[in-house]
């Protein structure tokens, strides 16, 4: 039985400093994250204690060392924000994990709010650098030199759905959804076949089908089993194969269609076998064909294009939802999925207002034509990168929005509100509110717990194993009647 798809995205950003060739990315990330100031700002730890990144969903524990920073490093590298998000340094990249949301529209708002947080801190951090030096941040996944960094999606699932079932039905969906999720890229990498322009940033970097690692020999389906919730009931599916998207419409459809697929898998509603013979090969074949006409081979020998495979999934989703009452947002997901598949069937370039890779390609081609450039020109490569620049006055996606060339899903006002307000219908609300109300008394935070240091007493940890508990409806009264953290703990025990 499908459970509500609580979800979130964690996005690693690219970072560089202009006019400082010897800049240290880790130090720059720490500066960046610490340049974002909120009123409650206290010295709060990220509580790594219960994290288990070496647990594999296929049922075993991998040997290895779990990295945990010491307390000082921890505080320097981790911020938990009043909107319930986590903003931190992950290896050599700034990373923003948005708070848990129940629906795809809120997901768009909070992912976009993350970009605002990044940009505010970028400006503040730049002011602290030597004159002439400038911190620059990019919401993309590749540096054209063989290095890649990810945009990860997280979806709550019922643990009774076996991982095997998920792999079986999701693999071909993930390989083909790129036709409306890809962020586009000039050229190819990682020993892939050369090409002028491809649909995704990441496809070239995927080398296995199913595995635990996220940094080398990347798998299309990641087996990380760290639910950050009640382990008996829940699974958190950690999807690492996507690109970092700028377009709200693309983000909406990416998470919308994927969460609908997962509901169908949970309900046993995937009736057709669309398994691919060689997913690792196909993901690149699809990515390298911007006409979307390349046929890939199914396990049963049939050959279909990625669009045809997505059409099959769409039809299944329409059948699954017909005859049941569905909420307006799901209706919108289906309408957009349908619109996009229809356009892709005719001509992908019809989606130059909605889908990142098409928006970017149309922009680059206009520029190339006017200036007589080719795909190898440095300026074309610069356009590819600058599309993802977070600065509102320089980022090319932002420029296109200003010119009215982009189909939007949410408003700037709503995004601005999401920078300071948590979603009201998940435990992110409780987390954000505790940070707002009890500054100085919050000792440590994790996704599924929050700890208080009250006076000289031992640290009190409040467990939050249910992602939907801790919503405004659940805890507003509790919070209103708890002026201090001590009151809160007392009231929780009552």
């Amino acid at each position: 039985m499908a459970i509500p798809k609580v979800m979130g995205t964690e996005i690693e950003y690219g970072i560089t400093v202009r006019n400082d060739r010897d800049f240290d990315p880790i130090a720059s990330c720490v500066l960046l994250v610490n340049s974002y100031r909120e009123e409650h700002a206290g010295k709060i730890l990220w509580d790594y204690d219960q994290e288990n990144p070496l647990a594999d969903a296929r049922g075993f524990q991998v040997d290895g060392e779990k990295y945990t920073p010491n307390q000082q490093e921890n505080i320097a590298r981790n911020k938990t924000l009043v909107n319930g998000a986590r903003y931190y340094v992950d290896h050599a990249h700034p990373e923003y994990s948005c708070p848990e949301v129940t629906n795809v529209r809120d997901l768009v708002l909070h992912e976009k709010a993350g970009e605002v947080v990044i940009e505010i801190s970028r400006r503040e951090a730049t002011a602290l650098l030597p004159p002439g030096a400038q911190l620059l941040i990019y919401k993309n996944n590749s540096d054209r030199k063989g290095n890649s960094y990810g945009s990860h999606e997280n979806y709550l699932m019922d643990r009774r759905t076996s991982f095997k079932q998920i792999v079986e039905h999701l693999m071909s969906f993930l390989v083909t959804r790129q036709v409306y999720c890809g962020a586009g890229k000039v050229g190819s990498e990682n020993r892939a076949h050369p090409c002028d322009y491809q649909i995704t940033q990441r496809a070239d970097f995927f080398e296995t089908e199913v595995a635990l690692d996220t940094m080398v020999k990347r798998p299309i389906i990641n087996t990380r089993d760290e639910p950050h919730a009640d382990r008996e009931k829940y699974r958190r599916l950690h999807v690492i194969v996507g690109d970092s998207n700028m377009s709200e419409y693309t983000i909406f459809l990416r998470n919308g269609a994927t969460s609908l697929m997962l509901e169908m898998i949970e309900d046993g509603a995937i009736r057709k076998d669309l398994s691919l013979r060689d997913p690792v090969r196909s993901i690149k074949e699809v990515s390298h064909d911007a006409t979307c006409r390349k046929e890939i081979t199914l396990e049963n020998g049939r050959k279909l294009t990625a669009v045809q495979i997505q059409r099959e999934f769409l039809e299944m989703a329409l059948a699954y939802t017909s005859g049941r009452s569905i909420d307006p947002i799901t209706k919108e997901v289906l309408a957009r999925w349908q619109h996009v598949v229809e356009c892709l069937e005719r001509d992908p370039m019809e989606l130059s207002r909605e889908i990142d890779w098409v928006i970017k390609k149309a922009m680059i081609e206009s520029f190339m034509e006017r200036k007589g450039l080719d795909w190898e020109s440095p300026q074309v490569q610069m356009l590819d990168l600058q599309y993802h620049d977070t600065r509102p006055d320089k980022g090319l996606y932002h420029m296109l929005v200003r010119q009215g060339r982009i189909e939007r899903v949410v408003t700037d006002e709503e995004i601005a509100a999401a920078v300071h307000e948590p979603p009201e219908d998940t435990r992110a609300y409780f987390r954000g509110q505790c940070l707002k109300r009890y500054p100085g008394e919050v000792f440590g935070v994790n996704w599924d717990s929050i700890s208080f240091g009250i006076g000289d007493e031992p640290i009190k940890r409040v467990l939050m194993g249910e992602p939907l508990k801790g919503s405004k409806a659940h805890v507003e009264q509790l919070l209103e009647s708890s002026p201090t953290a001590a009151d809160l703990v007392k009231n929780l025990r009552a």
Binding site: H91, D143, Q379, D393
Partner: protein
């Protein structure tokens, strides 16, 4: 001696011309012009904000591997 064929020039503001084909032709031409203007505006604005030293910038943009 080569034959010369006089091409018929479409009338300006030609509403009266047969079956509106001339008008349709003009509409299409106007639309084409508008698209070209829009594209020019797009390229002009890109020019204003695009990183000047593209080659060097792209060369120096190196990241550590992430997840």
């Amino acid at each position: 001696m080569a034959d010369t064929t006089q091409k018929q020039k479409p009338k300006r503001g030609g509403e009266e011309d047969g079956a509106g084909t001339s008008e349709g032709g003009q509409k299409l031409a106007k639309k084409g012009e508008k698209l070209k203007e829009e594209m020019d505006a797009l390229v002009d604005e890109i020019d204003e904000v695009l990183e000047e030293n593209a080659e060097e910038f792209v060369k120096n943009y190196v990241q550590r591997g992430g997840e």
